[in-house]
């Protein structure tokens, strides 16, 4: 319910293929990340973001402090 008609969904999928080509164009060696079709390829970036990217950093960034001690010296 509420999902896009199949023709629109297909257009979303085609946009994913374009995105994969763009992301893969920066690959310089075999260790570089590669991108392609997976279980999220029929979701638009907006849909994917709304469903899966739902964490946020703390509002008060002051809470976080940079390195103050050498962790390797702990027991």
């Amino acid at each position: 319910a509420g999902s896009l008609p199949s023709q629109e969904r297909y257009q979303v999928f085609l946009k994913s293929l374009e995105r994969h080509r763009f992301l893969n164009s920066d690959a310089r060696d075999t260790s570089d990340a590669h991108y392609g079709i997976n279980q999220f390829s029929d979701l638009s970036v907006e849909e994917f973001t709304n469903i899966y990217l739902r964490s946020h950093p703390p509002r008060n960034k002051d809470y976080y402090v940079p390195k103050k001690k050498a962790f390797g010296e702990k027991s």
């Binding site: 994913s16 995105r19 994969h20 992301l23 920066d26 690959a27 060696d29 075999t30 260790s31 570089d32 990340a33 590669h34 991108y35 392609g36 997976n38 279980q39 999220f40 390829s41 979701l43 970036v45 994917f48 973001t49 469903i51 899966y52 990217l53 739902r54 964490s55 946020h56 950093p57 703390p58 960034k61 809470y63 976080y64 402090v65 940079p66 390195k67 050498a70 962790f71 390797g72 702990k74």
Partner: protein, 214 residues
């Protein structure tokens, strides 16, 4: 420091989970950190209830989002014991918080710490080895299409939106990388994991680092 380290090699990381259509990556990340920290403390490695955190962490919004920081704050303030996943299974939707009596078996934390390691990834390596897997919040927009390899481009710091768990690193090759456990199932990425280049705060992986104290 070793060139390679992975908590999975010691059998101290539980299997990859699938959050389905529930936006509770923050809960999966924190529960994963607690599962490992509890096992590192000498207890059996067991799956703990993500659904309990989703339903009960009143500082967060269940499947509509949340923060690793506030989940740890809730666990620390309330001394809530996380029960086994089998006792409080994942339902992929926010529900009513179930109360368990204090006598119930469960895992609680004694505190937590949070750091910004954006300019100190070497220190983050030491911390990972010293305390266990680390919950982090990253920019994961480009992860929608990830299949494998080491993410080095198309991933920025300063736009954190997804919580995951760093379980190791590998510096033996030309490109050193963090080994990161995700919660999108084992069919995504490298058996559910993603590799992110070390040393340049790629994806903001060192910006928001938290871990439980057991």
């Amino acid at each position: 420091l070793p060139l390679q380290f992975d908590w999975r090699d010691k059998n101290l990381v539980t299997g990859v989970k699938n959050q389905l259509d529930c936006g509770a990556c923050w809960a999966f990340s924190i529960v994963g950190a607690i599962e490992s920290a509890n096992a590192i403390s000498g207890n059996p490695l067991e799956d703990l209830s993500v659904q309990q955190v989703i339903d009960c962490s009143y500082l967060d919004r269940g499947c509509n989002g949340g923060s690793t920081d506030s989940a740890l704050k809730w666990l620390n303030q309330t001394h809530t014991k996380l029960v086994r996943s089998s006792e409080y299974p994942f339902k992929a939707r926010t529900g009513t918080c179930h109360y368990f009596p204090p006598t119930e078996h469960g895992v609680s934390i004694n505190g937590y710490e949070a750091y910004d390691f954006s300019n100190y990834e070497e220190e983050m390596m030491k911390l990972l080895i010293s305390v266990g897997p680390l919950a982090v919040i990253v920019d994961a927009v480009s992860w929608q299409d990830y299949l494998g390899g080491i993410i080095q481009h198309h991933c920025s710091s300063g736009h954190s939106n997804h919580a995951v768990l760093v379980v190791g690193f590998d510096k033996t090759g030309d490109t050193p990388y963090w080994i990161v456990k995700n919660s999108w199932g084992t069919s995504w990425g490298v058996d559910g994991y993603v590799h992110v280049k070390m040393g340049e705060n790629v994806c903001g992986i060192a910006d928001f680092v938290t871990f439980p104290v057991m």
